[in-house]
């Protein structure tokens, strides 16, 4: 049980480090020029590298991705409990009794 907890902690740590390192490299990407809409329509850029337009959008994205992963971990935890419960009920033939 303790080993499992340690493994989980290591996994979460590695995952957080991965996200952090990716976010650092992400911040270094050049943002496309969006100053003048007219010039953009007339002159197509050589190569468009997608990235957040400003610090506000950039922060929103980091918050969004963090929220997604937190939600996923919580949902998986809840679903695991649900799986245990429905498996137990199935083992007890609860649903077949109910049907009768």
């Amino acid at each position: 049980m303790i080993r499992k907890r340690k493994l989980r902690a290591v996994f979460i740590l590695i995952f957080c480090l991965l996200i952090f390192s990716l976010s650092l490299s992400f911040g270094q990407q050049a943002s496309p020029s969006v100053k003048n809409k007219e010039t953009q329509v007339q002159k197509t850029p050589e190569k468009v590298v997608p990235s957040p337009k400003n610090i506000k959008e950039s922060t929103a994205i980091y918050v969004f991705i963090a929220w997604i992963w937190v939600s996923i971990f919580i949902l998986i935890y809840i679903i695991r409990l649900k799986i245990k419960e429905v498996d137990r009920l199935y083992g007890l033939k609860f649903f077949s009794i109910k049907k009768k």
Binding site: Q40, V41, V48, P50, I68, W69, I72, I79, K82, V86
Partner: protein
């Protein structure tokens, strides 16, 4: 209590008209066998998940995309720079396509290895091969739509390959391109195929495929068929669906992370008169075929290397499609040669893909 009653009455109202209760009862009755290969069962529903994501993000992109020579690249650039969060939607569409194709490959290979295509599931396999082709068709047609130098060159190479097919080759190439060369007509044609023809046929075939799976049930691994042991089963709803949901959430998390941190860029607008840039390569899922064509010499005996390579690829495709008829042994037979061929195919595809990536 009142809310519960009104919800129940709405449910009854809908059920009386649509008969959805029968479907839910069927799902409750449906059982999923539990064994060491059950993990492969999750690939089917994951493909569906990514298909739904493709449809939703594709519709969102279609609101802004303009499939004309002048506007295609600009409209994609606009999606990426002006439309709020447009680059994320495009990135999710891009990564979701790759995920979908990867899982389709895994799904097909797993069925091949566990011999789940054998009687009575021949048609399920054949419809699956068509679904694989349509999925690859989505990837091929979608690649041209940004209309940048790379997508144009890759499409020129890709649409030129059928030309090597004996007798009908030139006709197929002209049909794909809408003329002799890749032009604005090809772009419009590919867009039409990408957003209407392929989805229509894919949904139709998907319906047939799912119907066959429900009708025939899930297959058992060979060793369990041979031993005729009683296999532990789980109800599809809710026990198996909950398990599938865990896989979906993990995939969704990875998809969004990749889409945000590794979004696809857009090259400069395609120039029809410009020479092909050096080192053009198709998407990763076509690399093994691309490398196969590259390794053949220009001429072998009385035919060109391209014709021989394309003919061999076509023969391999025919073998793949008719696999249930070639390996039509009873379920108890192990079919070792077919297993060896499957492993050789995996090895070949992996080696060719890596070779193409590093050269």
């Amino acid at each position: 209590m009142k809310v519960k009653d009104s919800l129940l009455s709405i449910q009854t109202w809908i059920d009386e008209r649509l008969g959805l209760g029968a479907i839910f009862n069927f799902l409750r009755e449906k059982k999923v066998p539990q064994h060491k290969h059950t993990i492969w069962f999750y690939t089917g529903s994951s493909i569906l998940l990514f298909f739904v994501i493709q449809v939703v993000t594709g519709i969102m992109l279609a609101f802004y995309y303009k499939p004309t020579l002048e506007e295609a690249n600009k409209s994609v650039a606009r999606i990426m720079t002006e439309v709020p969060l447009g680059w994320i939607i495009r990135s999710v569409h891009f990564w979701s396509a790759s995920f979908m194709i990867a899982i389709v490959f895994v799904h097909m290979i797993s069925i091949w290895l566990v011999k789940a295509y054998r009687k009575p599931r021949e048609l399920t396999w054949m419809s699956g091969v068509f679904l694989l082709l349509f999925t690859l068709g989505f990837g091929f047609t979608g690649y041209l739509l940004p209309w940048d130098d790379l997508s144009l060159s890759a499409t020129k190479v890709g649409t030129d390959i059928p030309r090597s097919i004996p007798v009908v080759g030139a006709w197929v190439t002209n049909l794909l391109r809408g003329g002799e060369d890749v032009t604005g007509d090809t772009l419009t044609r590919f867009f039409g195929i990408h957003v209407s023809v392929l989805p229509l046929f894919l949904i139709l075939l998907l319906g047939i495929h799912l119907y066959l799976i429900q009708k025939l049930g899930m297959s058992l691994p060979l060793d369990l068929e041979i031993k005729k042991e009683e296999v532990r089963e789980l109800p599809f709803w809710p026990n198996f669906v909950y398990r599938e949901m865990v896989v979906w959430f993990v995939f969704l998390g990875i998809l969004f992370s990749l889409a945000i941190f590794l979004p696809p860029s857009l090259g400069k607008v395609a120039d029809l008169m410009a020479p092909a840039p050096k080192g053009i390569k198709p998407e990763w899922y076509f690399l093994f075929l691309f490398q196969t064509l590259k390794i053949f010499p220009a001429k072998i005996l009385f035919m060109t290397g391209d014709t021989l390579a394309v003919s061999l690829i076509l023969l391999a495709g025919i073998f793949f499609f008719f696999l249930p008829l070639i390996d039509n042994k009873p379920a108890q037979s192990k079919g070792k040669i077919i297993t060896i061929i499957a492993y050789l195919f995996i090895l070949y595809a992996a080696v060719m893909t890596i070779w193409s990536l590093v050269t």
